[in-house]
Symmetry: C3
Subunit: 153 residues, 3 copies
Amino acid sequence: MPQPVGILRHQVTGDVYAEVQTFYAQQMRRVDALDIEGFADTFTEDGEVVHAGGQRQSGRAEMVAGMRAALPRYRDIAVRHWFGHLLIETDPADADTLRVSYYTLVTQTDREGNVSFQPTFTVDDVLVRVDGRLLTRSRVIHRDTPAEPPAAS
Amino acid sequence: MPQPVGILRHQVTGDVYAEVQTFYAQQMRRVDALDIEGFADTFTEDGEVVHAGGQRQSGRAEMVAGMRAALPRYRDIAVRHWFGHLLIETDPADADTLRVSYYTLVTQTDREGNVSFQPTFTVDDVLVRVDGRLLTRSRVIHRDTPAEPPAAS
Amino acid sequence: MPQPVGILRHQVTGDVYAEVQTFYAQQMRRVDALDIEGFADTFTEDGEVVHAGGQRQSGRAEMVAGMRAALPRYRDIAVRHWFGHLLIETDPADADTLRVSYYTLVTQTDREGNVSFQPTFTVDDVLVRVDGRLLTRSRVIHRDTPAEPPAAS
């Protein structure tokens, strides 16, 4: 049986929708520019990322080290992260905590202009508003895998 | 002569924009998870889909049957629907009826992570708000074809 | 050193976010339909476009001429422009002037349904609201190139 997706309990306002989209637009410009320190600064000091392969980075320092180690992969390619289908859920007990889920598609363009694609991912984030500014507190990245077809009824 | 696209008469508010985007984020998660029953539930009971090839599905039962028949196509691939350039127009006579047009790009990722693409489509939907919750009443899917160049002037 | 991306000083409201997205949805439908005159009409009379290769088009008449000359490239392909990660900044001195930056991905689908991709671009626009309707006053298109990795620290 496929896992049914629940109706969101809390409709997001247009202002929060724009705020969250703008946050990701800024965060992705930093990662796509290989601005490692600037990217880490969009996380809380104790922010965590769990990558699709299972490795976990805890805190900005570990994130920065992990990204530095991965830099050779991005030599000679322009990377761009594309997002789709954001689902934003506010925490009824805490208006400054948001759970966000989204699709990502990553393009890699080489110097000749050829575009290639990484597999698609779905990401689950927890964002927190600190001094009026969103930061990512946790991110779990899921590699998209074929869905199990439903049993015949 | 190309068909000029009219200026929308009704500017959509941020709240409605976020509501519609959230609706599609939920609906597409269901279809991409092969949650056929859950997907059909995002349509009105008498909902209709007209596919790019011309075949028409009327009502949830027909949709479910059509999707079950198509399941073998999705064995071993992770499908994701990406949307672009939503145009949302509210009905001046009925605030609970929305006409929405959007671009779609469909990625298919196999188990090795290779991404392939279906041709692009443009979709025209009519959404209705029932008990405060959006549902699709009709969907017409157009395969994108080369535009006729304008006559030299 | 990578160029750090600044925090936006002005948070955009949901209504403006929806207005700008809707403007681009209309503008891109026109360009993708090869509706050259209609596309030019989404610019101010003195609107300017600076293409990634450096060529500059000033005013609607030059834009129309440039697009007519490029038409043979679009014979037999359906072009679609996809946008990502809009950053919208309002001018504190003039609420009717908006600076917008966004990612673009361009798909080209041939008559057989094969999809190919142009290299990705980042675009910087200045939009102005004239009689309540957005128009593009200037557009600078940047071809995405590999980021310079940060110096080891």
